[in-house]
Amino acid sequence: MLEITGLKKEYGGREAVRDLTFSLDRGELVCVVGPSGCGKTTLLRCVAGLLPATAGTVSVAGERVSGPPPNMAVVFQEYGRSLFPWLTVRENVELPLKERRIARIFRERLVFDSLAAVGLGDVPGAYPWQLSGGMQQRVAIARAIAYEPQVLLMDEPFAAVDAQTRAELEDLILALWQRLGTTTLFVTHDIDEAVYLGQRVVVLSSSPTVVLEDLKIDLPAERDQLTTRALPRFADLRGHVYAQIQRAKGAR
């Protein structure tokens, strides 16, 4: 569904991303994890078509990406800056659908369902700045799923919320993914989060970035904050990824 081949990005002659190749099958949830400053955001912006790659290709459902593809949605890290402060929660979720000229009855249904799915069915008339950080990110997630993308990109979406909210949002993402089966690329710097959420974890090196490892996460499909994180296998995988990233840092 999503194929990244030989992706390379230079900024003014300086190599940020050297060579990235990996792919996501339809319906997969893959986490990308790497040391800070390793070009995760560059990777995501290239995949989203927001930034042209220096070399290599990204394709979604067989179509090569040259600009933001219509079948892709992104949840940004900066929830406070990705929602329109002059629109209500409902209008924020509805705006992309309006621009797509989806008929009002379908639109209302989609907005209502996705707000209910993220647990915000009761605040459609509120403005984003009236909500907590976690709730704002839920609005951004509702907007992404209402858009019904084939591929969902998430750029460190929970980096700026507190730990408890983060756990809730992680479970929300898992629940939504299990229900909708949307192909999801989840970028994070948090190793625990990557292992907890992913079916696979792609470990990146420091910049200039390459793929260090494409690791299958053989944990049970049903994940739970308490029991999954208590599994010996979870600790193994977590330790393994941690060691990889430490090595990546050391090699710099």
């Binding site: 989203a48 927001l50 933001p68 892709m72 949605a73 940004f76 900066e78 800056r81 705006l95 621009e99």
Partner: protein
């Protein structure tokens, strides 16, 4: 009760001070407030409001609207393009630095002394704050919001006009006071109607109380316009104010 004292306390005090001064000083050019109030009612509650105040306000409105269209219309493309900005900004700063009243003689030569001249003078002063604030507002648009628009196929205009509206409104507010000043100045130069013209006329005719009443009217007009503007701004930028609070 407290609120009333707070709002009207200082104005009442000032009027009393004026009264006391006019009584003590016995200066022909400083009439007491009662005479000015009487002159105000006699002068402005009647035909003169239509003949002089209305044309002034009309020219102000025309100049203000034209300046807004030009300022926002040019400000958006300049704000969007780094290259255009680098080329245009020094020139814009230069034009902005020219005090608009000195353009009155020039504009009189170029277009004559009719309404067009007065509207042009108002435009020449009002356009700069709007233009420069629009440029700044568009330039500083949030990048994450811009990315969001691109990802979700949301029209750029939605972001530009709503996102830059706080700065555009700030420019419009500055321009409003500039506009009122230029409205009066343009009428003092060469005119047969308008508030500025009438005040000069009264002064030359030694109708001192009437002259004061004209100044009072201008103050009231400015106050009314800025109150109306603030009301409008609150409605348009409710999200901006609440956001920062």
């Amino acid at each position: 009760m407290r609120g009333i004292v707070r709002v009207f306390g200082l104005p009442v005090l000032l009027v009393l001070a004026w009264w006391a001064y006019s009584a003590v000083a016995d200066n022909f050019y400083v009439p007491d407030p009662l005479r000015v109030a009487q002159a105000f009612a006699d002068t402005w509650f009647g035909q003169r409001l239509l003949d002089d105040a209305l044309p002034s306000v009309g020219r102000l409105a025309a100049g203000y609207v034209v300046a807004t269209v030009i300022g926002v219309g040019l400000g958006v493309p300049i704000g969007l393009s780094t290259r255009l900005r680098a080329t245009a900004e020094p020139v814009l700063e230069f034009f902005r630095a020219i005090p608009p009243p000195v353009l009155v003689p020039l504009i009189m030569l170029l277009v004559g002394i009719d309404d067009t001249m007065k509207v042009l003078v108002i435009v020449s002063g009002c356009v700069w704050p709007i233009l420069l604030n629009t440029v700044e507002g568009v330039r500083a648009l949030d990048e994450v919001l811009a990315d969001t628009c691109r990802m979700y196929g949301i029209s750029r205009w939605h972001l530009i006009l709503r996102g830059a509206s706080p700065q555009i409104m700030a420019g419009l507010r500055q321009s409003l006071s500039v506009g009122i000043i230029l409205m009066v100045i343009s009428e003092m130069f060469a005119s047969s109607s308008g508030l500025g013209f009438t005040i000069v006329l009264f002064q030359r005719g030694f109708q001192i109380a009437e002259m004061w009443s004209g100044i009072l009217l201008l103050g009231l007009l400015g106050f009314a316009l800025s109150t109306a503007f603030r009301w409008l701004e609150r409605r348009i930028l409710f999200w901006h104010w609440s956001n920062r609070a």
